[in-house]
Structures are given as C-alpha cells and as structure tokens.
C-alpha cells in the first residue's frame, strides 16, 4: 500500500512555530523507510500525522491515492507501534492482540474461533508461543514490543508505522529484533515507516532514509546516496562522524586553510570561492614522507579497535581529529608529512556543491 504525504503543515498549538513545515513524502508500496533526525525535528509528528492521530493545519495524506480524512478511514489498515508499547495493562496478551478484531462491528467481526486462531498465528509469528494468557506486566521489554507489533498486525494492515520501537530495549535485544523486523517486513510484504534517532539503526534496516530537521525534510535518499551525496553539512554530520576543513576553491583545486592538508582537484562545476570540505575519519590518509629530510609533522595515536576499524586520534596543529583505518590493512601509515582528504564532499553555505 503506497503512502503519499502532500504539503503537510502543522503549527504548534497556541504558537506560530511550525512542527511540520510543508512536508511532502512519497512511500511506494513495499518500501521500508526510516525517518531520522535530532529530537524535535518533527519525525514523530509526521508519523502521527500519517496515522491521523493529530490534525494538521493544511495538507493531506493519501493511502493508495485515496485521501484519508480521519483516523476512522485508516482504522485496521495501518498498524502503529508506540514508543512505550501502549499495551492495555488490564488485558491478557491474547486479548491485547485480538483487540482490533474484537472491536469490529458484529457484521464484520470474525467468529470467536477464528479470532483465537489468528491470535495463535500472531503469537507464533512473534515467537511468543504460550504467552497468550499472561498480562503485559509479566513480560520483558522485548516481549512487550513484540506483543505491540502483534496487536498492530492483527487486522492485517498493509502499512506499519513504528515510533522509536526499540528505544527502551537493551543493545543486544535491539540488534536481534531489528533484523527480525526487516525479515517480517519482507515476509508480510508490508510498507513500513520507522521513526528513529539512531542513524545506524536506520542505515541497517531501511531501504530509504528521510532526514528531518526543524520540521522539514532535508534529504530523502537511499543509504548509499546519503553517504555519497549528503545534501547538507547537517546530514553529513548526522549520519556519522565527520571532520570538516575550511578552505577555498581556486582554478579547480581546493586549497585548505590548514597547510598540513594537501590541496586536491575538485569535481567539475564547483566554482571558485570559499568551501567547507567534510570527510569521514576512515576516508582520510596520511601521506608518506618522500625523502629522509622531510619533517614528520603528523602522528596518529592508537585508541583501540571498533567495528573493524582501528581508531586513532590525530594531532593537526591545534586540532585533534579522529582517524580510522581498517583492521586488515597490513601496515598502517600513522606518521607522515601531510593529510590527504581528496575523498571529501564539498559544501558551500551548508549545502552540497553540485
């Protein structure tokens, strides 16, 4: 089921601040989209607007090209999982899951036996066999999360909306439930929108990442494009550690202000003028000295190993910057005469130079 958001505007109640500032988004059928951004960027607000939980001042939400005017239009077609699960504490797990079916009008409601069968199916799908009779208070965080998912999926919706669903889980459970969720999305053929402030989680699980900042969508791209061509300095920084170097483009070459950084050729079309070069710590390299007389002015101090990279800190004049090399690199150049940042992306006034 495809989702389309058109020019959504939502003002903060009583204030003129724009929580959503003319947001448009197209999510094709079967996509897994992650909404990321710092807190207060409007991710949750957008998700709630898509679900119809909050009224917007203008704009529309379309589901399979049909405009949705109220929550009622969406009932049963969208599953929503809340950050704190929002299970019904006085009901058993089975009753929680069956809720969406139990409240259907009598004419449409499946028979009791059918509902029970559906609940059993979902319990199995969520790896919660035998938990149907328990109350939510007796479950662990990960189990509650899966009950919330099962409840959201009970009516067989084609769309799944998740609001920071892993926020309260410990790191190990988080990782396993993440890949399991992606599997679930693929098996059931869902269209999923996930809100998270954890960019790694987003990169790992989603096909498309929508970066939000101050109520606007800054960039909407695949994880790869996002890494290669971040639209703004903010996106570059948000998606992972980045180091920036100020400088100036002259005759097709970027001349960094720092003399220890080697000038490099910029892509065609970048006009002369001041720029900011931003680069990931693992994309930099240290240049070897070419003769015995060269002064070794750069030295990287080892700071341990993480995620397949050796981490170093690099003293560059007054600055200390991070510097990573892959673990399997045979002999790492940790001393040298200058820093090579030719793989940088260039930004001018915060925007990527095209």
């Amino acid at each position: 089921m495809s989702i389309e958001v058109c020019n959504l505007v939502r003002l903060a109640p009583g204030a003129q601040q724009r929580l959503l500032d003319d947001v448009s988004l197209k999510v094709p059928d079967g996509a897994f989209v992650a909404l990321v951004g710092p807190s207060g960027a409007g991710k949750t607000t957008l998700l709630r607007a898509i679900a119809g939980l909050d009224n917007c001042n203008s704009g529309s939400v379309l589901l399979d090209d049909r405009p949705m005017t109220s929550v009622k239009d969406r009932a049963g077609r969208m599953g929503f999982v809340f950050q704190n699960y929002a299970l019904f504490p006085h009901m058993t797990v089975a009753r929680n899951i069956a809720f969406g079916l139990d409240v259907q009008p009598r004419a449409e409601r499946p028979a009791r036996a059918q509902i029970a069968k559906r609940v059993e199916e979902l319990l199995e799908l969520m790896q919660l066999q035998g938990m149907g009779g328990k109350h939510p208070a007796k479950l662990s965080g990960g189990q509650r999360q899966r009950v919330a998912l099962a409840r959201a999926l009970a009516t067989g919706p084609r769309v799944l909306l998740l609001d920071e669903p892993f926020g309260a889980l410990d790191p190990i459970v988080r990782r396993s439930i993440r890949s399991w969720l992606r599997e679930l999305h693929d098996t059931l053929g869902l269209t999923t929108i996930l809100v998270t402030h954890d960019q790694e989680e987003a990169l790992e699980v989603a096909d498309r990442i929508v970066v939000m900042q101050s109520g606007r969508i800054v960039q909407d791209a695949s994880p790869m494009d996002l890494d290669e061509q971040p639209a703004t300095e903010f996106v570059m920084e948000f998606l992972g550690e980045a180091v920036s170097f100020a400088g100036e483009v002259r005759h097709g070459r970027m001349i960094p202000d720092d003399a220890l950084v080697i000038p490099f050729v910029v892509p065609e079309g970048v006009t002369d003028g001041p720029v900011v070069a931003m680069i990931r710590p693992y994309e930099m390299a240290i240049q070897k000295p070419s003769s015995e007389q060269d002064v070794l002015s750069i030295y990287a101090a080892p700071r341990g190993t993480r995620n397949g990279y050796r981490h170093y800190t690099l003293q560059l004049g007054e600055r200390i910057i991070p510097f990573y090399r892959p673990v399997d690199e045979a002999d790492v150049q940790v001393q040298g005469v200058a820093l090579d940042i030719s793989r940088s992306r260039l930004f001018r006034q915060g925007l990527l130079c095209a």
Binding site: F82, A86, L87, F88, H90
Partner: protein
C-alpha cells in the same frame, strides 16, 4: 519512647474524635433495647425517609458517576480555552457552604424564584419537592468522582487510547474497554465517596426540602425532626442506621485491595 507517645496520642485522638460518636449514637439507640429501637423504624414516616434517601442517592450517584467520568475525561485529555476555569468550577461545591448550595436552587425554582412561577403554571414542582432534593444532592456531590478519577487518568496518558482508536475502536469502545478499566480503582473510590456524601447531606437538602414528613424528609432531616421532638430512641436508631450505611460505603472502598491481595496469594 517518643514513638510510643505519638502512637498513643494518635490512637487516643482517633478514639475520642472518630470512634466515640458512633459508639454513643449506638448506645443511645439501644437504650430501651433492640426491639424498641427496631420498632421505631417501622413508623411510616421513618420508612418513607429511608426510601427517599435511597432514591435520591441512587439518582445522584448515577448521574454524577456518568457525568463525572466524562468531565474528568474531557479535562484530562483535552487542552481547550477555559479548561482551568472549568477545573476550579468543578471543585466549587467543596468550598461553598451546603446551605448556600441549597439556597441557589430556591432562588432558581422557588415560588419567588426565576423559573419557579413558570414551572408552577405547568404544575412542575421543584422546590419543596423531590426534584429539588435531587438537584441539591447532585450539586453537593458533584466533585467526588471527577476529582478521584482525574489524577489516575492523568497518569494513564493517551497512548493506550490512541492505540485503541488506531485499531478501529469507536469512542464508547475506547472508554469502556481501555479508559475505564485503567481507572476502575479510583472510580469505585469516587462512587463510594459520592454515595456516602449523598446519603448524609443535610444542609443543602434542608433548605430546598420544606421538611414535609413522609414526603420530602430524607433520613438526616428526619433525624433532626425526631430529635427536636424528644423522640431520642427513634432519632438515634435512624442515626445509627445512616452511619452504618455511610460507613459500609466507605469500607467498600478498600475492597479492590483485598481482592487483589487474595488473587496474589492464589497466584
């Protein structure tokens, strides 16, 4: 040492202030023996007073429960202009003297009141009749359900309700299956407090009732009437009965805790 002093002092205080009065009422009632005491209850005026009190309380409790739940829900779940004011207004009956609460109704529906003469023409009697007593009791007991339910609803939050709405539940289904079960303890507490207050209300009712024995006399009014007529056994028997009814309502408040404890023992 200090601990024991405080302990003894608090028990003494409770004994003198809270336990002695009902005990004295009971002794006075049984002064001529149980038979004589019970006989006073078979008096037609006494019976009519008991029935009237039960009827008035039933109506007041029902209405205040239904509207109390809705008022609490609206006050907690929505932010709207005038919300603060409404919240203060709900507590008004707690701060106003019951006599004043009664007078208001006379002012509106009495023979010289704003609507009194008009209603009189259609032969509708409110002041000095049962509807007036119900109105006065409603007014006095209004805050209890709202005030006990509101804080619990506040804690409950909106998420579960929103989840229910997204699952396709309508307004009444959300209220019945999600909101109310979440506040049932507080709700029971509020209902029983309302009951206790409705049973015993004297001031407001006294003003609007007109004290017609056998017609508009509730139990508290009847007790006063009997006492002023030097029928002390009858007065204290009725008083003991009223106290018993109110106390059992208050005691029932802790019933959910007992039930929960029993269930835990079983599990």
């Amino acid at each position: 040492m200090t601990r024991y002093v405080v302990w003894v002092a608090s028990w003494l205080f409770i004994l003198v202030v809270l336990v002695t009065p009902p005990a004295l009422v009971l002794t006075e009632a049984l002064k001529d023996g149980l038979v004589a005491s019970l006989a006073t209850l078979s008096d037609p005026d006494a019976q009519s007073a008991i029935w009237l009190t039960l009827r008035v309380s039933a109506v007041a409790v029902t209405l205040n429960t239904v509207f109390g739940i809705l008022a609490a829900w609206v006050l907690v779940k929505f932010r709207f202009p005038g919300r603060q004011f409404l919240q203060i207004l709900v507590e008004l009956p707690l701060s106003i003297s019951p006599v004043v609460s009664g007078l208001v109704w006379l002012l509106l529906f009495g023979a010289q009141g704003w609507f009194g003469p008009m209603l009189e023409r259609w032969n509708i009697h409110i002041a000095f009749a049962v509807p007036g007593i119900i109105l006065a009791t409603l007014f006095v007991t209004l805050p209890y359900v709202v005030r006990t339910v509101m804080p619990v609803m506040e804690v409950q939050g909106r998420d579960a309700e929103e989840a229910a709405v997204l699952a396709g539940a309508g307004f009444w289904q959300v209220l019945w299956h999600v909101t109310l079960p979440g506040v049932r303890g507080a709700l029971l507490s509020g209902v029983l407090l309302t009951t206790a207050r409705a049973l015993g209300e004297f001031g407001a009712v006294s003003v609007v009732s007109g004290h017609i024995p056998g017609e508009t006399e509730t139990m508290p009014l009847h007790i006063e009437n009997l006492y002023n007529g030097y029928q002390s056994v009858a007065a204290f028997t009725m008083a003991a009965l009223l106290a018993l009814m109110a106390m059992s309502a208050v005691l029932l408040r802790s019933a959910p805790e007992w039930i929960a404890r029993l269930q835990e023992k079983k599990a």
